[in-house]
Assembly symmetry: none
Protein backbone atom coordinates (compact mmCIF):
# COMPACT_ATOMS: atom_id res chain seq x y z
CA UNK A 1 0.00 0.00 0.00
CA UNK A 2 1.05 3.54 -0.68
CA UNK A 3 3.24 4.91 2.14
CA UNK A 4 1.90 7.50 4.55
CA UNK A 5 3.38 10.78 5.73
CA UNK A 6 4.01 11.05 9.50
CA UNK A 7 0.95 13.26 9.88
CA UNK A 8 -1.26 10.80 8.00
CA UNK A 9 0.13 7.88 10.00
CA UNK A 10 -0.61 9.72 13.23
CA UNK A 11 -4.17 10.43 12.16
CA UNK A 12 -4.73 6.86 10.93
CA UNK A 13 -3.42 5.38 14.18
CA UNK A 14 -5.89 7.48 16.13
CA UNK A 15 -8.78 6.60 13.85
CA UNK A 16 -7.84 2.93 13.99
CA UNK A 17 -7.75 2.98 17.77
CA UNK A 18 -11.12 4.67 18.07
CA UNK A 19 -12.70 2.27 15.61
CA UNK A 20 -11.23 -0.69 17.49
CA UNK A 21 -12.90 0.62 20.63
CA UNK A 22 -16.21 0.80 18.79
CA UNK A 23 -16.19 4.60 18.66
CA UNK A 24 -16.30 5.78 15.06
CA UNK A 25 -14.92 9.33 15.38
CA UNK A 26 -16.37 12.54 14.03
CA UNK A 27 -14.11 14.94 12.19
CA UNK A 28 -14.29 17.45 15.01
CA UNK A 29 -13.41 14.81 17.60
CA UNK A 30 -10.30 13.96 15.62
CA UNK A 31 -9.51 17.64 15.15
CA UNK A 32 -9.60 18.20 18.89
CA UNK A 33 -7.48 15.13 19.62
CA UNK A 34 -4.89 16.09 16.99
CA UNK A 35 -4.92 19.80 17.80
CA UNK A 36 -6.20 20.80 14.37
CA UNK A 37 -9.26 22.34 12.77
CA UNK A 38 -12.03 20.20 11.36
CA UNK A 39 -11.14 21.20 7.82
CA UNK A 40 -7.52 20.13 8.25
CA UNK A 41 -8.70 16.73 9.47
CA UNK A 42 -10.97 16.48 6.45
CA UNK A 43 -8.01 17.08 4.19
CA UNK A 44 -6.04 14.33 5.95
CA UNK A 45 -9.00 11.97 5.65
CA UNK A 46 -9.25 12.78 1.96
CA UNK A 47 -5.64 11.63 1.50
CA UNK A 48 -6.16 8.51 3.60
CA UNK A 49 -9.17 7.64 1.48
CA UNK A 50 -7.28 8.33 -1.74
CA UNK A 51 -4.48 6.05 -0.60
CA UNK A 52 -6.93 3.27 0.16
CA UNK A 53 -6.65 3.15 3.95
CA UNK A 54 -10.07 4.51 4.79
CA UNK A 55 -13.53 4.25 3.32
CA UNK A 56 -16.69 6.18 4.06
CA UNK A 57 -19.90 4.23 4.54
CA UNK A 58 -21.90 7.46 4.56
CA UNK A 59 -23.79 9.23 7.28
CA UNK A 60 -22.42 10.71 10.46
CA UNK A 61 -19.38 8.98 11.93
CA UNK A 62 -19.24 6.83 8.81
CA UNK A 63 -15.45 6.53 8.63
CA UNK A 64 -14.15 2.93 8.47
CA UNK A 65 -10.91 1.11 7.73
CA UNK A 66 -10.78 -0.24 4.20
CA UNK A 67 -11.22 -3.97 3.70
CA UNK A 68 -7.62 -4.18 2.59
CA UNK A 69 -6.10 -2.34 5.53
CA UNK A 70 -8.19 -3.89 8.27
CA UNK A 71 -6.53 -7.12 9.38
CA UNK A 72 -6.24 -6.59 13.10
CA UNK A 73 -9.91 -6.17 13.89
CA UNK A 74 -10.94 -9.62 12.67
CA UNK A 75 -9.00 -11.61 15.21
CA UNK A 76 -5.56 -13.02 14.62
CA UNK A 77 -4.88 -14.56 11.20
CA UNK A 78 -3.73 -18.18 11.28
CA UNK A 79 -0.86 -18.80 8.92
CA UNK A 80 -0.65 -22.13 7.12
CA UNK A 81 2.24 -22.52 4.73
CA UNK A 82 5.00 -19.96 4.41
CA UNK A 83 6.91 -20.03 1.14
CA UNK A 84 10.46 -18.77 0.85
CA UNK A 85 10.23 -15.45 -0.95
CA UNK A 86 6.72 -14.63 0.17
CA UNK A 87 5.80 -11.95 2.69
CA UNK A 88 4.12 -13.46 5.73
CA UNK A 89 0.53 -12.31 5.99
CA UNK A 90 0.15 -12.70 2.23
CA UNK A 91 -3.48 -13.45 1.56
CA UNK A 92 -2.76 -17.00 0.31
CA UNK A 93 -1.09 -17.99 3.58
CA UNK A 94 -4.03 -17.15 5.82
CA UNK A 95 -5.99 -20.23 6.81
CA UNK A 96 -8.46 -18.57 9.15
CA UNK A 97 -8.71 -16.28 12.11
CA UNK A 98 -8.25 -16.98 15.83
CA UNK A 99 -11.31 -15.76 17.69
CA UNK A 100 -11.93 -16.69 21.30
CA UNK A 101 -15.68 -16.86 20.89
CA UNK A 102 -15.39 -19.39 18.07
CA UNK A 103 -12.46 -21.31 19.53
CA UNK A 104 -14.25 -22.20 22.70
CA UNK A 105 -18.04 -22.28 22.52
CA UNK A 106 -20.54 -22.19 25.34
CA UNK A 107 -20.55 -20.86 28.85
CA UNK A 108 -17.00 -20.56 30.09
CA UNK A 109 -14.78 -18.83 32.54
CA UNK A 110 -11.06 -18.32 32.86
CA UNK A 111 -8.67 -18.63 35.77
CA UNK A 112 -5.16 -17.32 36.20
CA UNK A 113 -2.89 -20.16 37.24
CA UNK A 114 -0.49 -19.78 40.17
CA UNK A 115 2.32 -22.25 40.66
CA UNK A 116 4.05 -24.83 38.52
CA UNK A 117 2.25 -28.02 39.51
CA UNK A 118 0.97 -28.60 35.96
CA UNK A 119 3.97 -27.69 33.81
CA UNK A 120 4.24 -31.19 32.36
CA UNK A 121 0.82 -30.62 30.81
CA UNK A 122 2.00 -27.33 29.38
CA UNK A 123 0.22 -25.15 31.94
CA UNK A 124 2.71 -22.63 33.31
CA UNK A 125 2.64 -20.12 36.14
CA UNK A 126 0.64 -17.09 34.99
CA UNK A 127 -1.29 -18.87 32.24
CA UNK A 128 -5.04 -18.50 31.94
CA UNK A 129 -6.94 -21.78 31.87
CA UNK A 130 -10.29 -21.72 30.13
CA UNK A 131 -12.86 -23.72 32.07
CA UNK A 132 -16.25 -25.20 31.21
CA UNK A 133 -18.25 -25.15 34.45
CA UNK A 134 -19.42 -28.61 35.50
CA UNK A 135 -19.69 -30.54 38.74
CA UNK A 136 -18.14 -33.63 37.22
CA UNK A 137 -15.07 -34.33 35.14
CA UNK A 138 -14.30 -37.14 32.74
CA UNK A 139 -11.76 -39.50 34.33
CA UNK A 140 -8.18 -38.41 33.80
CA UNK A 141 -8.93 -34.98 32.37
CA UNK A 142 -7.67 -31.68 33.73
CA UNK A 143 -10.08 -30.06 36.13
CA UNK A 144 -10.50 -27.08 38.41
CA UNK A 145 -11.32 -28.05 41.98
CA UNK A 146 -12.11 -26.00 45.05
CA UNK A 147 -10.23 -27.63 47.91
CA UNK A 148 -10.45 -26.12 51.39
CA UNK A 149 -11.32 -22.67 49.99
CA UNK A 150 -8.43 -22.87 47.56
CA UNK A 151 -8.77 -23.28 43.81
CA UNK A 152 -6.44 -25.84 42.22
CA UNK A 153 -5.89 -27.09 38.69
CA UNK A 154 -5.07 -30.81 38.55
CA UNK A 155 -5.68 -34.01 36.61
CA UNK A 156 -8.75 -35.56 38.18
CA UNK A 157 -9.35 -39.28 38.62
CA UNK A 158 -12.33 -40.88 40.33
CA UNK A 159 -11.64 -44.23 42.03
CA UNK A 160 -14.87 -45.38 43.59
CA UNK A 161 -15.75 -42.79 46.16
CA UNK A 162 -12.32 -41.23 46.18
CA UNK A 163 -11.27 -38.21 44.12
CA UNK A 164 -7.58 -38.25 43.18
CA UNK A 165 -6.00 -34.92 42.19
CA UNK A 166 -2.76 -35.61 40.36
CA UNK A 167 -0.26 -32.83 39.63
CA UNK A 168 1.82 -32.87 36.44
CA UNK A 169 5.33 -31.96 37.52
CA UNK A 170 7.89 -34.70 37.87
CA UNK A 171 10.74 -32.46 38.96
CA UNK A 172 9.27 -30.71 41.97
CA UNK A 173 8.06 -32.81 44.86
CA UNK A 174 4.34 -32.65 44.15
CA UNK A 175 2.23 -35.56 45.30
CA UNK A 176 -1.29 -36.65 44.39
CA UNK A 177 -4.07 -35.63 46.76
CA UNK A 178 -6.81 -38.14 47.61
CA UNK A 179 -10.07 -37.08 49.17
CA UNK A 180 -13.54 -38.55 49.51
CA UNK A 181 -15.70 -36.96 46.81
CA UNK A 182 -18.54 -36.58 49.30
CA UNK A 183 -16.33 -34.45 51.56
CA UNK A 184 -17.48 -30.96 52.36
CA UNK A 185 -14.00 -29.60 51.72
CA UNK A 186 -14.00 -30.43 48.02
CA UNK A 187 -16.02 -29.15 45.11
CA UNK A 188 -15.43 -29.68 41.39
CA UNK A 189 -15.76 -26.39 39.55
CA UNK A 190 -15.23 -27.47 35.96
CA UNK A 191 -13.12 -28.99 33.24
CA UNK A 192 -10.20 -27.24 31.57
CA UNK A 193 -10.92 -26.87 27.85
CA UNK A 194 -8.06 -24.57 26.94
CA UNK A 195 -5.06 -22.57 28.00
CA UNK A 196 -3.98 -19.07 27.03
CA UNK A 197 -0.56 -17.59 27.66
CA UNK A 198 0.67 -14.06 27.22
CA UNK A 199 4.42 -14.49 26.95
CA UNK A 200 6.35 -12.72 29.70
CA UNK A 201 8.71 -10.01 28.50
Amino acid sequence: MEPLTPRQRQALDLIEQMLAEGNPPSQRQLAKALGLTQTAVRQLIRYLKAKGYLVDIGGHRGLRLSERYRGRTQGIPIIGRVAAGQPILAQECIEGYLQLERLFGGSLFALKVTGDSMVDDGILDGDYVVVRPSDQIADGRIGVVLLDDEVTVKRVYLKGDVLVLRPANKRAGYRPISIRSSSRNVRVLGEVVGCIRVQAR
Copy 2:
Protein backbone atom coordinates in the same frame (compact mmCIF):
# COMPACT_ATOMS: atom_id res chain seq x y z
CA MET B 1 -29.88 -9.63 35.23
CA GLU B 2 -33.43 -8.42 35.04
CA PRO B 3 -35.37 -10.19 32.29
CA LEU B 4 -36.37 -8.39 29.11
CA THR B 5 -39.70 -8.16 27.32
CA PRO B 6 -39.77 -9.53 23.75
CA ARG B 7 -39.75 -6.00 22.36
CA GLN B 8 -36.75 -5.02 24.48
CA ARG B 9 -34.94 -8.22 23.55
CA GLN B 10 -35.54 -7.52 19.87
CA ALA B 11 -34.20 -4.00 20.19
CA LEU B 12 -31.19 -5.11 22.24
CA ASP B 13 -30.31 -7.82 19.72
CA LEU B 14 -30.33 -5.27 16.95
CA ILE B 15 -28.24 -2.77 18.92
CA GLU B 16 -25.81 -5.53 19.89
CA GLN B 17 -25.37 -6.59 16.30
CA MET B 18 -24.76 -3.06 15.06
CA LEU B 19 -22.25 -2.38 17.84
CA ALA B 20 -20.44 -5.64 17.05
CA GLU B 21 -20.09 -4.44 13.47
CA GLY B 22 -18.60 -1.18 14.71
CA ASN B 23 -21.68 0.86 13.82
CA PRO B 24 -23.10 2.53 16.91
CA PRO B 25 -26.70 3.22 15.85
CA SER B 26 -28.64 6.46 16.08
CA GLN B 27 -32.13 6.41 17.53
CA ARG B 28 -33.66 7.13 14.14
CA GLN B 29 -31.69 4.32 12.49
CA LEU B 30 -33.05 1.91 15.06
CA ALA B 31 -36.54 3.33 14.65
CA LYS B 32 -36.45 2.71 10.92
CA ALA B 33 -35.10 -0.83 11.34
CA LEU B 34 -37.71 -1.69 13.97
CA GLY B 35 -40.58 0.08 12.23
CA LEU B 36 -41.08 2.58 15.04
CA THR B 37 -40.79 6.28 15.72
CA GLN B 38 -37.65 7.77 17.23
CA THR B 39 -39.45 8.51 20.48
CA ALA B 40 -40.63 4.90 20.87
CA VAL B 41 -37.04 3.72 20.43
CA ARG B 42 -35.95 6.22 23.05
CA GLN B 43 -38.45 4.76 25.46
CA LEU B 44 -37.12 1.25 24.80
CA ILE B 45 -33.57 2.45 25.29
CA ARG B 46 -34.58 4.06 28.56
CA TYR B 47 -35.78 0.69 29.82
CA LEU B 48 -32.68 -1.11 28.57
CA LYS B 49 -30.55 1.43 30.40
CA ALA B 50 -32.63 1.15 33.56
CA LYS B 51 -32.25 -2.63 33.49
CA GLY B 52 -28.49 -2.31 33.14
CA TYR B 53 -28.05 -3.63 29.61
CA LEU B 54 -27.08 -0.38 27.93
CA VAL B 55 -25.08 2.66 28.89
CA ASP B 56 -24.72 6.02 27.20
CA ILE B 57 -21.22 7.42 26.82
CA GLY B 58 -22.69 10.72 25.65
CA GLY B 59 -22.66 12.46 22.34
CA HIS B 60 -24.19 11.31 19.10
CA ARG B 61 -24.34 7.54 18.58
CA GLY B 62 -23.11 7.14 22.12
CA LEU B 63 -25.08 3.99 22.94
CA ARG B 64 -22.96 1.07 24.25
CA LEU B 65 -23.45 -2.30 25.93
CA SER B 66 -22.92 -2.13 29.68
CA GLU B 67 -19.73 -3.62 31.06
CA ARG B 68 -21.75 -6.26 32.83
CA TYR B 69 -23.82 -7.36 29.82
CA ARG B 70 -20.94 -7.21 27.38
CA GLY B 71 -18.93 -9.82 29.25
CA ARG B 72 -21.71 -12.36 28.89
CA THR B 73 -21.62 -12.20 25.14
CA GLN B 74 -18.09 -11.16 24.38
CA GLY B 75 -15.04 -12.66 25.94
CA ILE B 76 -14.55 -15.11 28.77
CA PRO B 77 -14.91 -13.88 32.36
CA ILE B 78 -11.78 -14.19 34.48
CA ILE B 79 -12.50 -15.53 37.94
CA GLY B 80 -10.52 -14.21 40.85
CA ARG B 81 -11.47 -15.65 44.23
CA VAL B 82 -13.95 -18.43 44.67
CA ALA B 83 -15.56 -18.69 48.10
CA ALA B 84 -16.96 -21.91 49.45
CA GLY B 85 -20.72 -21.60 49.18
CA GLN B 86 -20.73 -19.17 46.28
CA PRO B 87 -21.80 -19.99 42.75
CA ILE B 88 -18.94 -19.56 40.32
CA LEU B 89 -19.64 -16.73 37.87
CA ALA B 90 -21.11 -14.68 40.70
CA GLN B 91 -20.60 -11.05 39.84
CA GLU B 92 -18.17 -10.44 42.71
CA CYS B 93 -15.81 -13.16 41.47
CA ILE B 94 -15.33 -11.73 38.00
CA GLU B 95 -12.06 -9.81 37.67
CA GLY B 96 -12.26 -9.03 33.99
CA TYR B 97 -12.78 -10.59 30.61
CA LEU B 98 -10.42 -12.50 28.33
CA GLN B 99 -10.52 -10.89 24.92
CA LEU B 100 -7.94 -11.71 22.26
CA GLU B 101 -7.84 -8.21 20.84
CA ARG B 102 -7.04 -6.68 24.22
CA LEU B 103 -4.77 -9.48 25.38
CA PHE B 104 -2.40 -9.10 22.50
CA GLY B 105 -2.32 -5.72 20.81
CA GLY B 106 -0.96 -4.80 17.41
CA SER B 107 -0.40 -6.62 14.16
CA LEU B 108 -0.16 -10.32 14.84
CA PHE B 109 -0.54 -13.72 13.31
CA ALA B 110 -0.94 -17.23 14.69
CA LEU B 111 0.68 -20.54 13.80
CA LYS B 112 -0.37 -24.06 14.64
CA VAL B 113 2.56 -25.87 16.22
CA THR B 114 3.59 -29.32 15.04
CA GLY B 115 5.88 -31.46 17.15
CA ASP B 116 7.06 -31.46 20.73
CA SER B 117 10.37 -29.62 20.50
CA MET B 118 9.19 -26.81 22.80
CA VAL B 119 7.26 -28.69 25.49
CA ASP B 120 9.58 -27.51 28.26
CA ASP B 121 8.42 -23.97 27.48
CA GLY B 122 4.81 -25.11 27.69
CA ILE B 123 4.23 -25.16 23.93
CA LEU B 124 2.63 -28.47 23.03
CA ASP B 125 1.82 -30.21 19.76
CA GLY B 126 -1.32 -28.63 18.31
CA ASP B 127 -1.05 -25.34 20.20
CA TYR B 128 -1.40 -22.03 18.43
CA VAL B 129 1.46 -19.64 18.98
CA VAL B 130 0.64 -15.96 18.62
CA VAL B 131 3.43 -14.14 16.76
CA ARG B 132 4.42 -10.49 16.39
CA PRO B 133 6.00 -10.19 12.95
CA SER B 134 9.56 -8.88 13.08
CA ASP B 135 12.81 -9.66 11.34
CA GLN B 136 14.70 -9.68 14.61
CA ILE B 137 14.21 -11.26 18.00
CA ALA B 138 15.48 -10.25 21.43
CA ASP B 139 18.23 -12.66 22.50
CA GLY B 140 16.92 -15.78 24.20
CA ARG B 141 13.27 -15.24 23.40
CA ILE B 142 11.01 -17.65 21.56
CA GLY B 143 10.84 -16.96 17.85
CA VAL B 144 9.37 -18.27 14.64
CA VAL B 145 11.99 -18.94 11.98
CA LEU B 146 11.72 -20.03 8.38
CA LEU B 147 14.49 -22.60 7.86
CA ASP B 148 14.85 -24.30 4.48
CA ASP B 149 11.22 -23.69 3.59
CA GLU B 150 10.09 -25.05 6.94
CA VAL B 151 8.64 -23.00 9.78
CA THR B 152 10.04 -23.76 13.23
CA VAL B 153 9.39 -22.39 16.69
CA LYS B 154 12.54 -22.22 18.85
CA ARG B 155 14.39 -20.14 21.40
CA VAL B 156 16.60 -17.82 19.37
CA TYR B 157 20.08 -16.68 20.37
CA LEU B 158 22.39 -14.50 18.30
CA LYS B 159 26.11 -15.13 18.83
CA GLY B 160 27.96 -12.77 16.56
CA ASP B 161 26.97 -13.70 13.04
CA VAL B 162 25.52 -17.04 14.06
CA LEU B 163 21.87 -17.68 14.82
CA VAL B 164 21.34 -20.45 17.37
CA LEU B 165 17.92 -22.12 17.43
CA ARG B 166 17.53 -23.98 20.69
CA PRO B 167 14.68 -26.43 21.28
CA ALA B 168 13.10 -26.82 24.71
CA ASN B 169 12.75 -30.55 25.24
CA LYS B 170 15.25 -32.33 27.43
CA ARG B 171 13.74 -35.77 27.06
CA ALA B 172 13.73 -36.23 23.30
CA GLY B 173 17.00 -36.00 21.45
CA TYR B 174 16.63 -32.49 20.09
CA ARG B 175 19.78 -30.52 19.42
CA PRO B 176 20.39 -26.81 18.84
CA ILE B 177 20.73 -25.67 15.26
CA SER B 178 23.39 -23.13 14.37
CA ILE B 179 23.31 -21.22 11.10
CA ARG B 180 24.86 -18.03 9.80
CA SER B 181 22.22 -15.29 10.06
CA SER B 182 23.19 -14.04 6.62
CA SER B 183 22.39 -17.41 5.09
CA ARG B 184 19.77 -17.56 2.39
CA ASN B 185 18.15 -20.58 4.01
CA VAL B 186 17.08 -18.76 7.15
CA ARG B 187 14.62 -16.00 7.79
CA VAL B 188 13.26 -14.74 11.11
CA LEU B 189 9.49 -14.34 10.88
CA GLY B 190 8.67 -12.99 14.29
CA GLU B 191 8.59 -13.29 18.05
CA VAL B 192 6.17 -15.46 19.99
CA VAL B 193 4.04 -13.28 22.28
CA GLY B 194 1.52 -15.86 23.36
CA CYS B 195 0.22 -19.38 23.17
CA ILE B 196 -3.34 -20.67 22.89
CA ARG B 197 -4.40 -24.24 23.44
CA VAL B 198 -7.72 -25.92 22.81
CA GLN B 199 -7.59 -28.98 25.04
CA ALA B 200 -7.86 -32.26 23.12
CA ARG B 201 -10.91 -34.30 23.99
